[in-house]
């Protein structure tokens, strides 16, 4: 029996166990992606669209049309603007909280509780959150307006939902509110992964909390920060639930994101599949580029590099403490 074992090749099981994944991927991901790309070159539209369609004489007609459409440009601009308004405060607050929660010199009590509470909005259905905020900012007397009037900040209610910039800000705020806790926890775990020796060395050399944070924590957190940036960007480019449920992309397309645009072109009574497919492929290319960046980062995550980084961080720590001394002497 034992002698027989040696002769058996197990490599076929590698293929066998991968079959479900590969089959499901081919059918439900790869094929639809190619199909979407193809539809982008056809005249597929109308209520009977999915059944019959022909290739266009000018293959890039749909792409040209989409790229020249004001609504698409607006949607792309909105997507990026909303993402930026949400991401900058999000990463700032997450970094600040990370610095506080991982501080060695000033222990904060109740960290576990705060983490649980800050993360909570992330677990709630985005559609629910969007409609809840729509109700909170309701006009003339939703809770927020009620607060503004009863505290005397305003005489009458302000119609947040009918105005363009406030709507954008609210959508960005919802995104911020649901994601900062998640980002914070990811960053904290990144900090906890940094070798404590570095911090000890910095402490011995007399670096203060701020110096330690900027000269040791941030440089060592580079990979995690980039990961957060890219994942957040891809998530932001796909934003659908919040703007859709908050005010259906309105008012006047102020919160129309690329995903809502695609949905509206194809599924809300217009059935312009070819144009929606072309817009999808444009988004696909943008996301694939972002994804390529992440792929590049993750590939670098090998042990050798890690060791190198630790060495570099140690040097940084030395330099940080030296920098601290210089300041002191000045």
């Amino acid at each position: 029996m034992k002698t027989k074992l040696k002769g058996i090749s197990y490599s076929k099981y590698g293929y066998l166990f991968s079959i479900p994944f590969v089959v499901a991927f081919l059918i439900f991901t790869l094929y639809p992606t190619i199909y979407t790309a193809i539809l982008g070159f056809t005249d597929c539209k109308g209520i009977n669209g999915p059944e019959n369609y022909h290739f266009l004489e000018h293959p890039f007609e749909n792409f040209q049309k989409v790229l020249s459409m004001e609504t698409f440009k607006t949607s792309l601009k909105n997507t990026i603007v909303i993402w930026i308004i949400n991401f900058i405060p999000q990463i700032t607050l997450a970094l600040l909280l990370t610095a506080w929660f991982t501080s060695h010199s000033n222990e904060i009590k109740g960290k576990g509780f705060f983490k649980v509470v800050f993360y909570m909005p992330n677990i709630i259905t985005a559609a629910t959150v969007a409609i809840l905020f729509n109700a909170l900012f309701a006009y003339p007397r939703g809770p927020v307006n009620d607060f503004l009037i009863s505290t005397g900040l305003r005489d009458t209610g302000y119609n947040f939902i009918a105005n363009k910039m406030p709507s954008k800000l609210i959508v960005a705020f919802i995104q911020f509110w649901t994601w900062y806790g998640n980002t914070m926890i990811v960053l904290i775990s990144g900090v906890l992964g940094i070798s404590p020796d570095i911090y000890e060395a910095a402490q011995i050399d007399g670096a203060n909390g701020v110096q330690t944070f900027f000269r040791i924590t941030i440089p060592n957190l580079k990979t995690v920060l980039l990961y957060t940036l890219v994942t957040s960007l891809v998530g932001g480019l796909n934003m659908y639930d919040i703007p859709k449920c908050f005010n259906d992309g309105g008012p006047d397309n102020a919160t129309l994101t690329a995903s809502v645009f695609i949905f509206k072109q194809a599924f809300s009574g217009k059935w312009i599949y070819n144009r929606a497919a072309a817009a999808s492929m444009i988004m696909w290319v943008i996301i694939a580029l972002c994804s390529a960046v992440l792929f590049f980062i993750m590939r670098d995550k090998e042990q050798i590099k890690l060791d190198k980084e630790i060495k570099k961080a140690k040097k940084e720590a030395m330099r940080a403490s030296k920098g601290g001394l210089d300041q002191w002497q000045l």
Binding site: S18, L96, V116, Y119, T231, K244, C245, F263, S291
Partner: protein
Amino acid sequence: MAVVKKSAGSYTFKIVAYAVCILLTVLSIFPFIIMLVNATRSSAQIQQHALSLIPGHNLKMNWSYFASQSFNPFTGFKNSIIVACCATLCTVYFSTMTAFALVAYEWKLRKPFFTFIMAVLMIPAQVSSIGFYNMMYKWHWTNSLLPLILPAIAAPTVVFFMRQYMIPSLPMEILQSARIDGAGEFRIFNQIVLPMMKPAMATQAIFSFVTSWNSLFMPSILNTKTEKFTMPQMVALLNGDSYKTEYGTVYLGLFLTVLPILVAYFFLSKYIIEGVALGGVKG
């Protein structure tokens, strides 16, 4: 002197830090408190004073209006539970299996396959939705729960996570000894590997479930019949015309959809936070 200075500094630091944390706590919880309170108040009360911490007596009225609408909210619950449970089972089981193939066996395409999984890690299903919809339309699979469940079999992020977890925690000697005892490869996977991967599977199960439960885009392109609506689709209806003046009912509807998630969250928060820390979820 220096000692006094330091403690004064840390004092202000602590005051600022706690103040910010408490403020954020209020920010996280307050919207839900307003929601809960307003769910018990009448539309007239809400119109007069939307911001109140005193519950009203209109819970029953709001509920009867909510229940009298054309759709049945429990259908949404039922559909969402079916979809989320099946999708979670598919994701966790088949991703662990794929990870096992990547870790335990030497095969020619192993490295290219893993590189491929890394490459498609971030591509969301949403960008291929037009093709997906047309395919499902041709198959007559619209208004069915299957297209919401089956794609969950191929979940690159979960495979990636499972592989990372499996490499250090699955000793090859155990597989060898199981083989000597005469166990087949499939049995080894089901009876030895799966139990060993339980902690990682639990984490991934929670996130798969939440993602599936919360997803709105795919169900809303595929389902047009209310009897196939999932919970988020039902929620989206709360912004519709039939609720324009029924403020209390909207809050009640929102509360009902949040309740199961909140209850689950407070039981599982420890694991969820740990899971996020492991990079188990992307955003």
